[in-house]
């Protein structure tokens, strides 16, 4: 009985989140230039234009527009998609089956292989089996999904020329040679319903490649999670108890270890589902799979707004449902979870207000507008009164205001060019400081030396960390020494922009590696080949490392700054501040990252690399904030914080002297790994054709040039740039893993 109350409560809590998501999608549509542009052609008469204006309510005030939008959303009137000439809600129904069939198969493959592999890896810890599984998993996280897909396509084109590498079915066979009725649009189920083995085989044959591609990334994450949880569980006391009962090693592992390790793994399966949605955008585009993802990309390329918004909203909806199921499953798996819950008055108020808002919207737009405005104004009023009261009563808390303005300053200076100057100046000042107090520094270093020796020992014990360090250092030096490694030609104005060559002996050139110098002594040919437009791939890779470094550093630094400040303050103070921050992050996290970033870029119509950076920051900060906040929340309950409080330390001091240093490990590890993750996202966006012009030296973009030439057997133009992305990500992931091992005191034994 209690469980049903829990389920109902979780269901009710999704409503405010969904409402928040509609606000974001509405902001997206409002941020777009001319809302009428997609509907207008040269033939549109002024009268028709006015009718359109009337119909779409362009001239209405913003609140009326939002409520109208909300009403359309809840009545499933999601607009008209011009790229496929179909109503959006109809299109969703048609295409959802294709995406779902692919995702379900990928999910089954991923979970079914990852959990046994993770368990196996943990029981063979630090042996060669463990190392190879870890490398396999890390490669899965590091290899860009689109590169893996192209690689498979190339492999199958060369080795199995009969294998169709695109599409969902052999249309000739399904429609003309041997037509069967397609009822559900799940082709496997339809084939079974028709009792036709060849149809089933054909559908499965088309499914295998995209499903493998889609599964690999999620599989990698689940393997790493399962391995970590399993190692944690195997060190617990109840495992010793189980051994003392006389159980065999296998019984202990599978009966006592695995179920306990499954609990934290399951909670993150919802996140894995978001990964699938992100991945399906890329996979479907490459395999021309007639699903939601491919449709969304087509829509984004041609500014089909209602389709973009619908896709964003729908994927958020799917993600929320997946997380809902996972949460309920968690309650079933872990008997310790508290079902009663901490449902506060604020929570009930938020839920009931959201439900009321939806009801009112459904009944009357005018009332809803006033109702919404009332809620908004009272929220702002109450919030400012609460903040003002607090500051009036404790003037010491003013430091938070300064903290936030300081963060804003840092973020702005990172985004403008001012950042590097600050870095140079502070490095210089730091060196001066070191020189000034060299004696103290030397004394201070003495105890650190032992730590350092320990770290070196840890690194030596783990060859993968050395590999990561090597990869990161070599890629960074490529970025630094780019002007010497690949000198730009004299005609180039901007070295970041690649040169186009349309002459026949410049484009589609195969790589010549080390024998590029002709007999005359002149450079002839391309070291790593050239693309269809005659871009030099070697040049693109070398200078592309600068693009990657630039974007990764800026996004990670700003994201970290925002996340650390907001997360630490919100986690440390808890209460209402925390509630508000968490609800905001809930809404952002509810939309799968790549989808939101794509939607932001597509809707603003600004295809510059700066816009891509902003969108990545918007997508990135909420997840990071939640991690820091959880750490701060955990730490503030520890006895030494109580002790510091009892000793009369101020909040400022506690946060900066006690809370932050204690979560610095996770900050460093996550920031290091995100340096890799950001570049993967950047490359994915670049591959889809977003971010910077076509001639910007950027790895993902270079891969996309090679996509069309796979059938001709030109492998170099997709292979080398993708390799660079994979090595970059792998390097940072390995380094992050290694850093965690070194910094985590629990790992020392």
């Amino acid at each position: 009985m209690k469980l049903w109350i829990y389920v109902l409560r979780r269901l009710a809590l999704t409503i405010p989140v969904l409402l928040g998501v509609t606000i974001i999608t509405f902001c997206l549509s409002y941020g777009m230039g001319d809302p009428l542009a997609p509907y207008v052609t040269e033939k549109t008469t002024p009268e028709q234009y006015e009718i359109l204006e009337e119909k779409l309510g362009v001239n209405d005030p913003i609140q009326v527009q939002y409520v109208t939008y909300l009403r359309n959303v809840i009545t499933f009137d999601w607009g008209y998609s011009k790229v496929i000439n179909q109503d959006v809600s109809e299109a969703l129904r048609d295409k959802f089956a294709a995406t779902l069939e692919l995702s379900i198969l990928a999910f089954i493959v991923a979970v079914g292989t990852a959990i046994p592999l993770g368990i196996f890896s943990s029981i063979r810890q630090n042996r060669w089996e463990d190392h190879s599984i870890r490398l396999f998993a890390l490669a899965g996280s590091a290899i860009p999904i689109f590169w893996f897909a192209l690689f498979l396509q190339y492999f199958f084109t060369i080795n199995f020329p009969d294998w169709e590498i695109v599409g969902r079915r052999d249309i000739l066979f399904w429609e003309i040679t041997d037509p069967i009725e397609i009822k559900t649009n799940f082709l496997l189920i339809d084939a079974i319903a028709a009792g036709s083995w060849p149809h089933f085989l054909d559908a499965l044959k088309h499914l295998i490649l995209p499903a493998t591609v889609l599964a690999y990334g999620s599989m990698a994450t689940i393997i790493r999670l399962m391995r970590g949880n399993m190692l944690d569980v195997l060190g617990q006391d109840y495992i010793r108890t189980a051994k003392s009962k006389g159980l065999t090693e296998n019984q202990v592992t599978y009966k006592h270890g695995a179920p306990n390790a499954m609990i934290p793994t399951v909670t993150l399966l919802g996140m894995g589902f978001a990964g699938l949605i992100n991945g399906s955008v890329l996979t479907e585009t490459i395999f021309t799979w007639p699903g939601l993802g491919a449709w969304a990309i087509t829509a984004m390329r041609s500014l089909d707004v209602s389709a973009i918004l619908a896709y964003t909203l729908f994927s958020a909806f799917l993600y929320i449902i997946a997380n809902l199921i996972v949460d309920i499953l968690y309650a079933f798996l872990d008997p310790r979870v508290e079902l009663g819950g901490h449902s506060s008055i604020a929570e009930m108020l938020v839920v009931s207000l959201s439900i009321l808002m939806l009801l009112v919207t459904f009944l009357s737009i005018n009332v809803a507008v006033w109702f919404g405005l009332l809620i908004l104004i009272s929220l702002i009023f109450l919030g400012s009164v609460a903040i003002g009261k607090r500051l009036w009563e404790n003037p010491d808390d003013l430091w938070i205001v300064f903290l936030f303005s300081g963060t804003l300053f840092v973020v702005l200076s990172i985004l403008s060019g001012f950042f590097m100057t600050i870095i140079y100046v502070s490095t210089f000042v730091y060196i001066l400081y070191l020189g000034y107090s060299w004696k103290d520094v030397k004394e201070g270093l003495a105890p650190k030396f032992d730590e350092f020796k320990r770290a070196v020992y840890q690194i030596k014990r783990n060859p993968l960390t050395i590999l990561g360090l090597f990869l990161v250092l070599s890629l960074l030096s490529i970025a630094i020494f780019a002007p010497w490694l690949a000198p730009p030609s004299e005609t180039q104005r901007d070295p970041m922009r690649m040169e186009e060559h349309f002459e026949f002996n410049y484009n589609h050139q195969p790589p010549c590696y080390f024998s590029c110098t002709a007999e005359s002594g002149e450079e002839d040919g391309y070291i790593l080949g050239s693309t269809d437009r005659g871009y030099d791939i070697y040049y693109g890779i070398v200078w592309g490392s600068r693009t990657s470094l630039d974007v990764a550093v800026k996004v990670v630094f700003t994201g970290t700054f925002i996340a650390v400040v907001i997360g630490a303050v919100s986690g440390y103070y808890g209460g209402r501040v925390d509630d508000i921050v968490m609800r905001i992050t809930d809404v952002f996290i509810a939309i799968p990252g790549l989808v939101l970033a794509l939607a932001i870029i597509a809707v603003t119509g600004d295809n510059s690399i700066e816009m891509l950076m902003y969108s990545l920051i918007i997508v990135w900060w909420p997840g990071f904030t939640r991690v820091i906040r959880a750490e701060a929340l955990r730490i503030r309950k520890l006895p030494y914080i109580e002790a510091a409080k009892a000793a009369g330390a101020s909040d400022f001091r506690i946060i900066f002297k006690h809370v932050l240093p204690n979560c610095i490990t996770s900050i460093i590890v996550i920031a290091t790994m995100d340096m890799g993750g950001i570049v993967l996202s950047l490359a994915a966006l670049g591959f889809l054709g977003f971010g910077g012009g076509a001639d910007l030296a950027e790895w993902g973009k270079l891969v996309s040039f090679g996509q069309d030439d796979i059938l001709k057997g030109e492998w170099w133009s997709f292979f080398f740039p993708g390799l660079a992305v994979a090595l970059w990500a792998l390097g940072f992931y390995l380094l992050g893993d290694g850093v965690r091992d070194i910094l985590d005191p629990k790992q020392r034994n």
């Binding site: 009822k183 006391d237 010793r240 003392s244 009962k245 006389g246 034994n749």
Partner: protein, 343 residues
């Protein structure tokens, strides 16, 4: 009963080899409560874990002999060791909450050891009373799996209904129907022999309402109840020896006394041997007949309880006794002594 001769166990750590046990000699007779005292890190627990080979991976036994009922089990095979664990020697630990598996009910955890070591008994009971041997609910998995199946079925039904092809949802509806039918048919199932044995094991450690406790999870019980469940588990395999590794450290003082009394009672009833590991001399005085004092991986003194308290021989034992706080007197520290002498 148990004899340990010159046992040496090493830990391989980053800082080098640590000699946790440096030649331990012990002898525990049948039906005796033997106390092993010493400060933290003196090697008491390592001794116990060495006997059952429950040591962490970094540890290894480098020398010595462990003899159980005249049988040398130092190099016993893994199969033989599993018979000994739970079947001949039961062990209970310091913190009962972390020593019990959080996601298994008490019934499952106690039942497990019964299946391993008392299978013949369970079958006999089932034959005599004509009841099922093991789990009496058939075709039922864990709640998580049940829920997953249910969730998948419901999602598919709603999905197919949404796209207007309800007929394709029928197989899933069928599955749900079968699940409900199964639950309905098995509403009142007879208790299995295993359940009866578990309840009997729980009532042996004087747990009130054993039937209800059997169906609860560890975190739902109090600390004293959890430790009683641990003892019930350790004894369920009809072990002739119990190793209690600081069984009362994590408990309240009143509960401590109850648990010690329970161990004493059961020892008397079954004529078992008990190896009681503790750092609390009060516990030793209350419970044990014989006691050994450990210091830096060696036994420094072994004598009867009376002797230890009235006439301690070794320097360290004297220091240890002096460190017991007495009313009005200033508390003394245990001093470091240079080299621990032989017994």
């Amino acid at each position: 009963m148990l004899e340990i001769k010159d046992l040496k166990t090493n830990f391989n750590t980053y800082d080098g080899v640590v000699k946790a046990l440096d030649g331990v000699n012990l002898s525990i007779k049948d039906g005796e409560i033997f106390g092993l005292v010493g400060e933290t890190g003196s090697g008491k627990s390592v001794t116990a874990y060495s006997v059952l080979k429950l040591l962490p991976k970094t540890a290894e036994i480098v020398a010595g002999k462990i003899i159980l009922n005249g049988e040398d089990i130092t190099d016993a095979t893994e199969d033989r060791l599993r018979q000994i664990r739970g079947g001949e020697i039961g062990i209970i630990f310091q913190d009962p909450l972390s020593a019990l598996n959080p996601v298994m009910t008490v019934n499952e955890q106690v039942g497990e050891i019964l299946v391993l070591h008392q299978d013949a008994e369970i079958n006999k009971l089932a034959y005599e009373k004509e009841i099922p041997v093991y789990k009496s609910e058939k075709w039922k998995s864990s709640p998580g799996v049940e829920f997953t199946i249910m969730a998948i079925c419901i999602s598919f039904i709603s999905l197919f209904t949404m796209i207007g092809q309800f007929t394709f949802g029928l197989p899933f509806l069928f599955v749900i129907g079968i699940m409900f039918l199964r639950d309905y048919l098995q509403k009142e199932v007879p208790e299995s022999a295993l359940d009866l044995m578990v309840i009997e094991a729980l009532s042996r450690v004087k747990l009130p309402n054993p039937k209800q406790i059997a169906s609860s999870y560890p975190h739902e019980l109090s600390g004293g109840m959890q430790q009683r469940v641990m003892i019930a588990m350790a004894l369920a395999g009809k072990a002739k020896m119990l190793i209690a590794d600081e069984p009362t450290t994590a408990l309240d003082v009143t509960i401590q006394a109850q648990i010690l009394q329970l161990i004493k009672d059961i020892q008397k009833e079954e004529n078992m041997s008990v190896l009681l590991i503790t750092h609390d001399l009060g516990v030793v005085a209350e419970t044990c007949e014989k006691v050994a004092v450990m210091y830096k991986g060696k036994i420094v003194e072994e004598a009867s309880v009376d002797q230890i308290f009235t006439n301690p021989q070794h320097e360290y034992t004297k220091a240890l006794l002096n460190a017991i706080p007495k009313g009005g007197k200033e508390r003394l520290k245990v001093p470091e002594i240079g080299e621990a002498g032989a017994i």
